[in-house]
Amino acid sequence: MKIFQVALGILAAIGGFVDIGDLVFNVSAGATFGYQLLWVVVIGVVGIIVYSEMCGRVAAISGKAVFDAVRERLGFKVGLMALVSAQVVNLMTLTAEIGGVAICLQLLSGLPYRSLIVIAGIAIAIVVWVTSFDWIERIFGYGGLCLLVFAVAAVKLDPIWSQVGHGFVPGMQTQNPTLYAYFVIGLLGAALTPYEVYFYSSGGVEEQWGPKDLGLNKANAMIGYGLGGFLSLALMIVGGSLFLVKGIEPEFLGSIALGAEVPLGQIGLLLAIVGILFAVSGAAIDTLFSGAYNLAQFLGWEWGRYRAQTGAPRFTVTWLVLLVLALGAVMTGVDPVQLTEFAVIFSAVALPLTYIPILLVANDRSYMREYVNGRLANTLGLIYLLVIVVVALAAVPLLVLTNVGQG
């Protein structure tokens, strides 16, 4: 039964790595540059594993989640800035994910999109209200594994494997280096998106991890995010093998599902849509909880899904308000796919405010005792901090220069 204990990592990774934005971003990267950007996924995966392991360890040893650390280490003013930026990006992402859930339901049922938005919102509220944290992890984490159909599709599309292999070596063979850089930044931003670590570290506290769970934390981070990265690679290979060859620029969730339908027929299509449905629903729940976790932790409220709704009333009200706000936003007709692309880029700007406090706390012996970062964790942590700062500085200029990735 040990395998079921990595559900937190799988949900955080499925919801964080292959949410609606990543699905389109990864396939678009493949459709635009073939396999050239596979190396970026690997760098992103290692980065998120390093920082997730770190914040999971902090949660297990100190019982503190990310925004506890943000408030303590950055002070009120800078911490408030981090909170506001995190909440704005969370709300944008939540809006996009709810739209994504409605699109998937529409692709499965053919019912009107707007009605499905309402159904999606009510369904998410009921699931979050009545289902325990453990079961939320299992249902959406393991349901999202249907996305493995894209790995089968990638193989079935018969890519040139030597070219796939070259994709793991950084290099640039393009006449549009600015667009290439935009995709690099976007893929890194998507891999390291902050709500993954908000959710993951708070999930560790929800599960009441202690020092004995440090091995489980490592397994969660490595297996969960490793799997998320594997799915990202598969999606990019599908993009390169099918859409690049045909000259298609995939811009809809339906286009992504078509990537499984073409090589595998109806069964591939259905598995792809169901997998996407679970992944975007999981991402919606990740972001919904993250928003409530962040505010509650920053303001020192009682929080946690492991408590009864009445045991953490302000936490409960916060996620309900966030859900209503996101439903209102998606009902305006905003395109979920475009919105999430903006969310990914804007979240990249906020990355340092999330990751610096984690690195500081993980090195604080008064919190972590003998479990402080070792040399490897610190070296990787610092290298990735540099990467994060570059991503944060370059994100918005590249968004403007490439006209939101349109070239």
């Binding site: 529409q106 692709l107 499965l108 049922s109 053919g110 045909k246 000259g247 298609i248 620029e249 995939p250 811009e251 809809f252 339906g254 286009s255 599902a257 078509l258 339908e261 073409v262 027929g265 109806q266 299509l269 259905l270 849509i273 918005v396 968004l399 403007v400 006209n403 939101v404 349109q406 070239g407």
Partner: protein, 135 residues
């Protein structure tokens, strides 16, 4: 001052997303988009003709693609152009409208394998014609 700079930045970004004068670069991009929509429509038509798709997916996705093609048709029909490319831009608009109509047929008859098979060739021809306008 910072607020105005931010607003200017956003205006610049969104101006690039839609509207404005069509120059050669925009014509190339829009031609590639129409090519993409027609090619994706052909892939979908091919799957429908083989019975490899589902009714609801085919209906909904064809409608999405048709809507995007229709948006291009409407926008390219009236946007001003730089000198020397207006004929190409209007031709692309008509082509996008044709692609939209063909995709609408898939939307309306998502289980009609014969109709889907008959749409494959015209969609491919449209994709080819749009890609020539990109050059």
């Amino acid at each position: 001052m910072k607020r105005w700079a931010a607003l200017g930045l956003l205006a610049f970004v969104f101006a690039g997303c839609n509207g404005g004068t069509v120059d050669r670069h925009a014509l190339k991009r829009d031609s590639e988009k129409v090519t993409s929509l027609a090619t994706e429509g052909e892939l979908l038509a091919n799957d429908i003709s083989k019975g490899a798709s589902t009714k609801d997916f085919a209906r909904v996705h064809a409608q999405e693609l048709a809507g995007a093609a229709s948006d291009f048709a409407t926008s390219l029909a009236k946007r001003p152009t730089v000198a020397g490319i207006e004929l190409k831009v209007r031709k692309l608009s008509r082509l996008a409208a044709k692609v939209s109509r063909e995709l609408d047929q898939l939307h309306l008859h998502p289980t009609d394998r014969g109709a889907a098979a008959s749409l494959k060739r015209p969609l491919l021809a449209d994709a080819d014609a749009a890609s020539k306008l990109a050059k």
